[in-house]
Symmetry: D2
Subunit: 222 residues, 4 copies
């Protein structure tokens, strides 16, 4: 049976509940056609997060790895195209959950500048939108732990020549997090809508080993 | 038994589903403590909408009138403070559902420049946020049908000296509407989150004949 | 000779330079056709600011009063349509320059809910745009000192039956203010562009005793 | 004498004036300390633009190549960190000036996924901000001609092992472009402010062969 590894970061910084963790808990153990979703919650720590997901890949032996995190301020689900070999958390005044900050340090010294997601981005976004879930392709996963883990796992898969497709999905704040005073005016998405979007995206990824060749409109990222 | 009149606009323009209509259908007939919600869907037409809600007030005899519409582009529920005696739909390239556009015409010739909502705005927003629903007070309901109906009903209540509190709640796009190509990047809120927010807001309005005297942080509207 | 009173608030809060003050200094003493601009800088204090502008009106005897302030976060010049009889600075965590905060207090107890600007808003915005200056009509001046002063002066003019047209123009941050860490990502406008816009707006106001009857597109305010 | 090649795209799509072209014209021929700026305007066409800048590099023999384009919707100057080997203009409904659209095609088949700018990004942004010009580091140059040219030139420099530092600076709309109806509400920056920022950035790049190691706050890109 096909297995899908679905990972979601735990809470971090001033986000008391991470939508990625909520969606993992919601979809863990469910099936999409003949594929089973195995969900894990990942510690929001530089380098440790990569180890945790690598270990899970070895244990689960998935065909597909879909990693998730929260991207506060974005109004839609964003499917990331690219992860870069660069970390800077000081610019966002963020620390990981062990208090570590990085500024300018690569994830893999001497590694390639970047990896592209191997998920069918246009097909995923098209499917999410058709299901009524606002979504877009993004060309930056920022320079904190999400980009770090996405790079680390794509590098691991590439250097070990594994036959696994992998990529990243960012989720907006949950409503209760956007309702906090420090997030005044921030957009949000309910866990149900986010889970529907992610489930639909995974289904589309399973159906499309190659991406579709249709225009999928994008907002210019600012 | 206390009755609450809850009104929501129907679909209009390029919004195929109005969250206000969805919330009306969700809460119509439900009770909050000893108060019963009577919900009606209102045609999105200048002047006719005022007649429809006036008639409903005469029939329902409510203590509280909570009117709702959609405000595309806003990320949170916004509780409106003020309605002005001024209509301009041409500036938004919008028409009402009969094709009528107004530019600079007052709702009530010779009427007061504006009315303030008589709902306890701070108490409502505080309650919504405590329930995990992003919300804020707004100082503009724009110059289309929402502001028009809000003004019309507050004027009707004032000039007839009715003992009814009334005001306006704006809802973000539903997710499936934000997922349309023409709304690329727009924030959204699920009908469940919106309905929870509105229900919580009504509950708070019932509990607070006078508004609370606490600071409720607001975003500067842009 | 026609005189125009142009007022601009001084620095306040975390704005070390107010674009309104810059534009006053730039245009004070200049002439537009046969009209002369008399500029004054106004203290950013509740009630005192109204007294200062009232006194200036008595001294200058202007035909036109154009008041200005800064609206951080807005990308364009905004010409305000309406001022309301309501103050709340606590919601923005703002104090005036004497440390005073107001929450829910009216500017004029028992006064009308609101006044409309008596400037030709559409004509002004059209002229600014034609001159290459981004501009729009706004339906909220927020609830801090700008709205307060705008209300106070429109009330003074109305209750004294003065033959003076008056209104408010909001300016974005100056670039050097948007470049401060606390304003990360905020839009800005140079003093030259802002001054050109205001000068053009005044010229248009002089030419149009009545507003033009053309659609002027607006962004929905969020 | 040190030479700096400064390139700026011409007008494209619905941008009748490109701020990048304006800044090239403003700084071409000027000197910064002992370095002379040679400015060229680049045709906004896929692949041709790379040829044009390559030829200019061969002719000018610069130590530094600073390429510029317009990024409508951004409020500040953004200095790009990364260019990717991927083009998609259909997602933005954009064509180059010859009417060409690309969807998913790489700039260099088989080339690396991405290149990092070799400019000192933090030093540049710090200097711009100190000069009063709003600026930030960006992690996406989108997937139209700017990213394409940035990738093409960094690839050319890398594969030819040239001792040239190079990177990209994005500029907001000019005010007169933001004032057009199709850009309603868009932020802008005057040519003078943009030119000051670019000049200051180049000066900083000359002073810092290596980037500074200080936190430079960034907005999370949405």
């Amino acid at each position: 049976m096909t297995r899908i590894l679905l990972t979601g970061f735990e809470a971090f910084g001033n986000t008391p509940v991470n939508p990625a963790e909520s969606v993992v808990r919601s979809l863990d153990g469910t099936a999409i056609n003949n594929a089973k979703i195995v969900g894990i919650v990942v510690p929001n720590n530089f380098f440790e997060c990569i180890d945790v997901v690598r270990t899970a890949i070895e244990e689960v032996n998935p065909e597909l790895v879909v990693m998730m995190g929260e991207y506060g301020g974005r109004a839609t689900i964003t499917v990331e195209r690219i992860a870069q070999n660069f970390n800077d958390s000081t610019r966002y005044r963020l620390k990981d959950n062990r208090g570590v900050t990085l500024q300018g340090k690569p994830t893999v010294p001497g590694g390639p500048i970047a990896y592209h997601s191997t998920l069918p981005l246009r097909a995923i976004v098209k499917a999410m939108r058709s299901a009524g879930v606002p979504a877009d392709i993004s060309d930056t996963a920022a320079t904190f732990c999400c980009n770090h883990l996405m790079y680390g796992i794509l590098h691991y898969i590439a250097t070990n020549d594994l036959d696994i497709r992998a990529g990243w999905i960012h989720l907006p704040h949950l409503p209760e997090v956007a309702a906090l005073p420090e997030n005044l005016g921030a957009p949000s998405m309910s866990r149900e809508t986010a889970a529907l979007g992610v489930r639909t995206g995974i289904e589309s990824a399973l159906q499309h080993p190659q991406d579709i060749d249709e225009p999928i409109l994008s907002r210019l990222q600012i």
